[in-house]
Amino acid sequence: MSTGESNVICAEHEKLYKTLDAFIEEVKDKPGVLIEVLHKAQEMFGYLPTEVQSHVAERLNLPESQVYGVVTFYNFFTMKPRGKHQIKICLGTACYVKGAEKVLDRFKEELKVDMEEITEDGNFSLHGVRCLGACSMAPVVLIGEKDFYGKVTANEIPKILKKYRG
């Protein structure tokens, strides 16, 4: 990476840190605010690398170990970058009965990645999630935060993926 490029990234990061600090400033007097701050940080950075965790720990005046403990405990938080489009496959019992395994296998095949991995172009990553509470639509796939796909069959998957390929 040339210095020019890294400068751009640094400048961008600095901006993100500033926004995060402003958010922390707003909420830091409320008790038990760590998880809320981490939600915000992940929303902004996309993931929670150790640098971000240290930063949060310092601002909230908490030991880094506590922040790390929370990040690694909850499934929602990740220390690895995720794809631009996160494909979440419901692994609940109702989806299992309706063939979620076949859907998962097809995604793995189409994207050439395994669970919790990111595609080479960074466009997709594949995740298993707990029951999404849409069992009557099983098997269910959630892409990003709001795109719900119900009664998914393995054959539909190429068509679904096409929508997200630029």
């Binding site: 019992t93 509470g133 009557s136």
Partner: protein, 543 residues
């Protein structure tokens, strides 16, 4: 509900939105305008109607006709036929009995009243005035103006309502303990971390009738003497989060939350906290840990939350469904509530019907309704002419059974007969499902969600997955099947919290109910139901 002459309610929730619900709604509106029907027909958005078809469900009032819309053409046809010409479009109509339980044959007329779901799919969840028009916040007004806190607790106790989250603890007693705890600072928490696989009742309540939760929490706060409350919602429940936040904001705006509510001198603040994906946070003390900003590992009980909860203060923690019963109980009295259901279990229960069943969705029926009725009367039976083989009631932590005991009525006491009520899931699996495979999937879930704090749960779930995996591949031994039962006993008796204790239940019941099938796998007899294992291939690779 605001009425012009006709009202169209378009069911918009997370899953129907993707099938074009908003687009169809817009199309209906445009056509209403195009045919100059704007003065006659009002088009509104509502939550889920509790039933899922391939298309988007639309309800037309006052006729009470339900349609399934699959395309913009369908939407246009609805307007030109039904609204313009006044003819019901038979082709698009769906049987409303799957949505509303008609009062018929039983003779017990009041037995099929919707309490929890009375507003879901009827009102616009984003409009506080619609909730108010359906007697919303009337219970709160009654409580604040006419009742003392101890009277409120008395009514709740008399109604005999028990927690709807699974454990079934009497709600009135919980409130009483909290009220009696001597501490100026107390909290009310709504457990909306719904994560039991197969359960989505809380999501539909929050998406379709968020104010009922806000109102009930305020009533609870008044009864126990709390001034601060939290709703802990799963981070993945985007629709619920939006609707609850809007409901709270609107309630603040007209003075139903905040300082001096309705001039009573009572103040209550309510905010939303987001979960971050951990099944264990449904356990109340783990949930409290999480609100305090720590990993959600359960605390040692006692002390229970009513004595020492959030920040060490007395705290009431109730499930969404439990709360949404409260306003009805206050308005209609405890006797009316007790008239529904069975002796030890009052009221109704929302059941979610999932798996291989024709009408997938949810129904609200009196406590004590039999599994058979739920599957065949409300659920419409098993699709594709297949035979029912495995039933799991109560959620992933619930009991498995074969088809021999379907006559059991589900309530808080039915677990003794072998069918737990839990969070109200009825999961059906047809003859193509393999019991061993199914057991493995369930235990994989618990192994993943075990928080790792105590050994019996952490190791018990892990080892049972390993054994089940071996058995499912035809590599197990008979004594390993026995070992599974032993692990279940140890987990149940020695786990630190409910997660490990209840993970034992599905494991034990599935092995017991399908003992022969487990033995068949051990003896490498072909299983035509296995999804992943083909015994022939396995044998070849082994030798």
């Amino acid at each position: 509900m605001r009425m012009k002459i006709q009202t169209v309610l378009v069911s918009v929730d997370s899953s129907s939105a993707l099938r074009g619900a908003r687009q169809f709604k817009k199309h209906i509106e445009e056509n209403v305008k195009k045919y100059q029907l704007s003065d006659m027909v009002e088009v509104l958005e509502t939550g889920s109607l509790g039933v899922y078809k391939d298309g988007v469900i639309v309800a037309v009032y006052p006729e009470e006709v339900f349609y399934e819309i699959n395309s913009t053409d369908d939407a246009e046809q609805l307007v030109t036929e039904h609204f313009l010409k006044g003819r019901i479009v038979k082709d698009l109509m769906i049987d409303k009995s799957v949505i509303k339980h008609e009062k018929k044959e039983t003779g017990k007329l009041d037995r099929e009243e919707r309490i929890v779901l009375k507003n879901v799919g009827v009102i616009d969840p984003g409009a506080i005035e619609e909730y108010i028009a359906r007697d919303g916040y009337m219970a709160l007004a009654k409580v604040l103006k006419e009742m003392k806190p101890e009277n409120v607790i008395d009514v709740v106790k008399k109604s005999n309502i028990r927690g709807r989250g699974g454990a079934g603890f009497p709600t009135g007693m919980k409130w009483e303990f909290t009220a009696k705890a001597d501490n100026p600072e107390k909290y009310v928490i709504c457990n909306a971390d719904e994560g039991e696989p197969g359960t989505f009742k809380d999501r539909l309540i929050m998406e379709g009738d968020p104010h009922s939760v806000v109102e009930a929490m305020t009533i609870a706060a008044y009864a126990v003497g709390a001034n601060k409350g939290y709703i802990y919602i799963r981070g993945e429940y985007y629709g619920s989060i939006d609707n609850i936040r809007k409901a709270i904001k609107d309630a603040y705006e007209i003075g139903l939350l905040g300082e001096d509510i309705m001039g009573s001198g009572f103040s209550f603040d309510l905010s939303v906290r987001l979960g971050a994906g951990a099944y264990i946070c449904g356990e109340e003390t783990a949930l409290i840990e999480s609100i305090e900003g720590r990993p959600g590992r359960p605390r040692l009980k006692p002390p229970y939350p009513p004595v020492e909860g959030l920040y060490g203060k007395p705290t009431v923690v109730n499930n969404v469904e439990t709360f949404s019963n409260i306003p009805w109980i206050i308005n209609n009295g405890p006797e009316a509530f007790k008239a529904l259901g069975t002796e030890g279990s009052s009221g109704t229960k929302v059941f979610t019907l999932v798996g291989n069943i024709i009408n997938r969705g949810l129904v609200e029926v009196p406590m004590g309704t039999s599994i058979f009725d739920l599957i065949y009367k409300y659920g419409g039976g098993i699709p594709n002419g297949k035979k029912l083989k495995i039933v799991q009631t109560g959620g992933t932590a619930g009991t498995f059974m074969n088809t021999k005991k379907l006559e059991i009525g589900l309530d808080y006491d039915s677990a003794k007969e072998g069918a737990s009520l839990g969070s109200g899931v009825i999961l059906c699996m047809d003859e193509d499902s393999c019991a061993v495979d199914c057991a493995k999937t369930v235990m994989e879930f618990f192994a993943h969600e075990s928080c790792g704090k105590c050994t019996p749960c952490r190791e018990g779930t892990r080892v049972s997955v390993k054994l089940l995996d071996k058995i499912s591949k035809g590599q197990g031994r008979e004594e390993e099947v026995e070992q599974l039962l032993m692990i279940a006993d140890v987990m149940e008796q020695t786990s630190f919290c409910g997660l490990g204790q209840s993970a034992a239940i599905p494991l034990r019941t599935i092995v017991q109910s399908f003992r022969d099938e487990f033995s068949d796998h051990v003896q490498k007899k072909p299983c035509n139901a296995c999804t992943f294992v083909e015994p022939k291939k396995k044998k070849r690779s082994k030798r």
